[in-house]
């Protein structure tokens, strides 16, 4: 074990059993600033160490990264990684070559980006999580094998790292300690982006070596391509779910709503994260109530790939991202809708609107927009009758990185909250300067071994601190319900987990949910509260 203060990028090739151990984390705000308020890290099991790569920081993120059984396997692994590393600089990677080369070549090691990273801060500024740490490891390896200067001058130009199974596997794990939130990139004086390098490492592992966390790949994008949804819901199961929800709406809220389905030529195809139907059905229900009440011409799709907007490829594999995005586009084209509206899912926003934007010629492509401007339009034009008095409790807003920092949708969601809540307050910082929830880039659904400990205690720590900060006036008053509005499935999942992990819901009455739920709760036409905790 190395004291993190002495840890250097080249130590990734070090034969230590575990490079660092997290100890002094960033303090939380009251009431979690007192000892005993937070659970300790789970002890790491020997069996995990034997099977996976736990030698980085004692956490296991990649459940498919298995220790080799022979020298040959070890060499093959390193060889494949180096092949992949060479390819990221080739035309196999054209779609990212320019940004990648810039971030790869020009870092001045000025360290301005470190302070921006929530994980680095939360870890007690542990060297391992400094945004440039992993970038520098990648540079060292690339220099050593693929540059003339590295071959001739070695350590003089930084090519001083031992490359063995441990080095490569640790680097793979380290790529899954970054949420790809790009907050650090906002502060770089040279405009560089360390998340690009983290993602490239993930891509080498997946696209070249066939290694990616199961929840993202086998049970994620592969399952989606096979069944139509990463939840595994097939078309018949989806239809059953809708039917069940319609009954539920009638029973609970006394409203007769029929989800419009596969309506050819509708104005809007609404694409939800299918996880909502399983984990938070009140979200698609709320959308249906609002869209119906506002009289929109909309539809859902029950076609393969048409009822799940997720695209996990975004986080680790460009080829998977493209396959999924193109199939989703096709569904909309076949329905002949005017526009695709993305529900409350941040990465799906970015996947469909931004990343997929240049995957096909514009001709015939159905335009994509976020649900947030439409929702704001409904409020702004008084198409909904709303009573903010119904939301008379403290509400704060989490800004999903993909929607805000990476798409520039900042105002509509705030305008809505200001109009429908009496006690809205911002987190600090917020808007494009927000912190990631800590579940970004797949962390929200990665729960292998002790990885959820890393998420709950480290990567989501800053978000929890921000939530505590936003509610300081009433935090310890468990009589007052408090609501964290997170218009994104992944962020919601992460926030659900932290509230549970720190027992903030049970002890302090802190709740979470999307934006549409609050809107429906404020509807004058609703006879009883839509939010369960108000009942």
């Amino acid at each position: 074990m190395i004291d993190h203060k002495d840890l250097r990028p080249k130590d990734l090739g070090n034969p230590d059993q575990q490079l660092i151990k997290l100890q002094e984390l960033m303090p939380l705000a009251a009431p979690y600033d007192k000892p005993g308020m937070e659970p300790d890290f789970k002890e790491i099991k020997d069996s995990w160490k034997e099977k996976y790569c736990a030698s980085l920081d004692g956490f296991v993120g990649i459940d498919t990264l298995i220790r080799p059984k022979s020298k040959e396997e070890e060499e093959e692994f390193v060889g494949k990684f180096l092949n992949g590393l060479e390819k990221i600089f080739s035309d196999a990677n054209n779609g990212v070559l320019q940004p990648l080369l810039l971030s790869f070549e020009y870092c001045a090691k000025c360290n301005t980006c470190s302070e921006a990273c929530h994980t680095f801060a939360a870890s007690g500024k542990n060297e391992l999580y400094r945004p440039i740490f992993r970038s520098e490891v990648l540079r060292k390896i690339a220099k050593k094998y693929f540059t003339t200067s590295g071959k001739f001058f070695g350590s003089l130009v930084g090519a001083d790292i031992d490359v063995n199974w441990e080095t490569v596997a640790r680097l793979g794990e380290l790529a899954y300690r970054c949420n790809l939130c790009r907050r650090c990139a906002q502060t770089c004086p040279l405009g560089l982006d360390n998340s690009i390098l983290a993602k490239e490492i993930r891509k080498i592992f997946s696209q070249e070596m066939g290694i990616a966390p199961n929840p993202l790949h086998e049970k994620g994008s592969m399952l989606q391509l096979k069944t139509g949804s990463s939840t595994g819901i097939t078309k018949p199961a989806f239809l059953d779910t809708l039917e069940f929800l319609e009954e539920d709406i009638e029973e609970k809220y006394g409203r007769k709503i029929k989800f419009p389905l596969d309506k050819k030529g509708a104005d809007i195809l609404l694409l939800h994260n299918a996880g909502e139907f399983m984990a938070w059905p009140e979200n698609p229900i709320a959308f249906a109530i609002l869209f119906e009440e506002a009289g929109l011409d909309w539809t859902l799709s029950s076609e393969m790939m048409g009822y799940d907007n997720v695209n996990y490829g975004l986080w680790y594999d460009d080829t998977q991202a493209k396959k999924i995005a193109l199939q989703q586009m096709r569904v909309a084209q076949e329905l002949g809708v005017n526009r695709i509206v993305i529900g409350e899912c941040g990465h799906a926003h970015k996947a469909s609107a931004i990343v997929a934007d240049r995957m096909a010629a514009a001709e015939g492509k159905i335009p994509v927009e976020s649900c947030l401007p439409i929702l704001w339009d409904m409020v702004r034009t008084n198409r909904l009758k709303l009573d903010p008095g119904k939301n008379n409790f403290p509400v704060t807003l989490h800004d999903p990185c993909n929607v805000v920092r990476q798409m520039g949708i900042v105002q509509p969601q705030r305008n809505i909250l200001k109009a429908i809540c009496t006690r809205f307050r911002e987190m600090t910082p917020h808007g494009v300067d927000n912190y990631c929830c800590g579940g970004g880039s797949g962390f929200a659904i990665m729960n292998h071994c002790n990885f959820s400990d890393f998420r709950n205690k480290v990567s989501a720590r800053m978000k929890f601190k921000q939530i505590l900060g936003a509610f300081q006036d009433t935090m310890e008053n468990s009589e007052v319900p408090k609501y964290v509005c997170a218009p994104c499935s992944n962020c919601k999942g992460t926030i659900r987990d932290i509230l549970e992990y720190y027992q903030a819901s049970a002890k302090f009455n802190v709740h979470f949910g999307g934006l549409v739920e609050l809107m429906v709760n404020a509807l004058v036409s609703m006879e009883k509260p839509f939010l369960e905790f108000l009942e």
Binding site: P99, D193, L314
Partner: protein, 302 residues
């Protein structure tokens, strides 16, 4: 004479290699969108980081762009290093000293060249008090002194201090390669050699007269210090564009072609044309994982 030729060659190489690098970067294929807000081109929204995606049916509305804000933000970065100022003030003082010093030295060089031409044309560049000196020559004289003194002082201080900071700051040290120390030392040495050569005459009359010889390709007596100075500056000029100190090129692309580039691919647009072209490209290299191989080669994406 050989010294003058070397100086010319180094300048030509500096410009040539810089242009070559810029061209190389510009020719890289169209990449997937990777904008990061705030994007200054977003008229009326840049201040809070908004974009056209805040509008329902954004594609039906005219895109409101502000070239002015983009230019303003670019100048703030170029002239002031705004991001460093906002996010790491202690380092900004040192880094800004160096960069501002370089800008002043660039201006000083232009003034010295102009002064040399003026003198070659028979007009002495002197203080205003002497009778018969023209306003132009007086301006060249005083501005030369001002830019030179400030430039040399700031650049020497900045490069030296940045070097020392890297040596003594435990964190920076871990990430700094010997080559990166060398980069700073080279700049420092070039500036300090200039100080020792020209410092004895802060009116820079010597510099103008040497420059006049270089420009007219006439021979002149060069002492060892001057020879060293010219060699150091020449080597620096050739080396900078080869090293990552050429970030003055990279920075243009990171901001204008990556972080601030949010051009949507809409039917009939120039972007659509570029996208179609990129989609038609068949890469020579392909990824090897089984799930990728099964589907054929990928085209542009992020």
């Amino acid at each position: 004479m050989a010294l003058a030729v070397f100086a010319y060659i180094s300048m030509v190489l500096f410009i040539g290699i810089t242009a070559y690098k810029a061209r190389k970067l510009a020719q890289l294929p169209l990449h997937g969108r990777m904008e990061l807000y705030p994007v200054p081109g977003e008229k009326g929204r840049h201040e809070y980081g908004g974009s056209y995606y805040e509008e329902a049916e954004w594609w039906k509305k005219p895109r409101e762009l502000s070239k002015g804000t983009e230019l303003k933000e670019m100048l703030k970065e170029m002239l002031f290093i705004k991001k460093l100022f906002e996010n790491q003030r202690p380092l900004w003082w040192l880094s800004y000293a160096l960069h501002l010093g370089i800008y002043f030295l660039a201006a000083w060089s232009v003034l010295i060249i102009a002064g040399a031409f003026t003198e070659l044309a028979g007009l002495p560049v002197k203080a205003g008090a002497a009778a018969g000196t023209s306003l132009w020559a007086v301006l060249l004289y005083y501005l030369g002194i001002f830019t030179g003194v400030v430039g040399f002082a700031l650049a020497a201080f900045g490069s030296g201090a940045l070097f020392l900071r890297r040596v003594f700051d435990g964190t920076l040290k871990k990430y700094t390669t010997p080559q990166e120390y060398f980069n700073l030392l080279l700049v420092f040495a070039a500036v300090v050699s200039g100080l020792t050569v020209w410092g004895s005459d802060p009116t820079f009359g010597n510099a103008r007269s040497v420059m006049a010889h270089v420009l007219s390709l006439t021979s002149f007596a060069a002492g060892p210090l001057l020879v060293l100075h010219v060699i150091l500056v020449g080597v620096m000029f050739i080396y900078i564009p080869l090293s990552k100190m050429s970030h003055y090129v990279g920075k243009y692309f990171t901001f204008h072609k990556v972080l601030w580039e949010n051009e949507p691919n809409v039917a009939g647009s120039e972007m659509e044309h570029k996208v179609k072209q990129a989609l038609g490209y068949r890469p020579q290299n392909a990824w090897s994982a089984p799930h990728v191989k099964a589907a054929g080669a990928p085209a542009p994406e992020k």
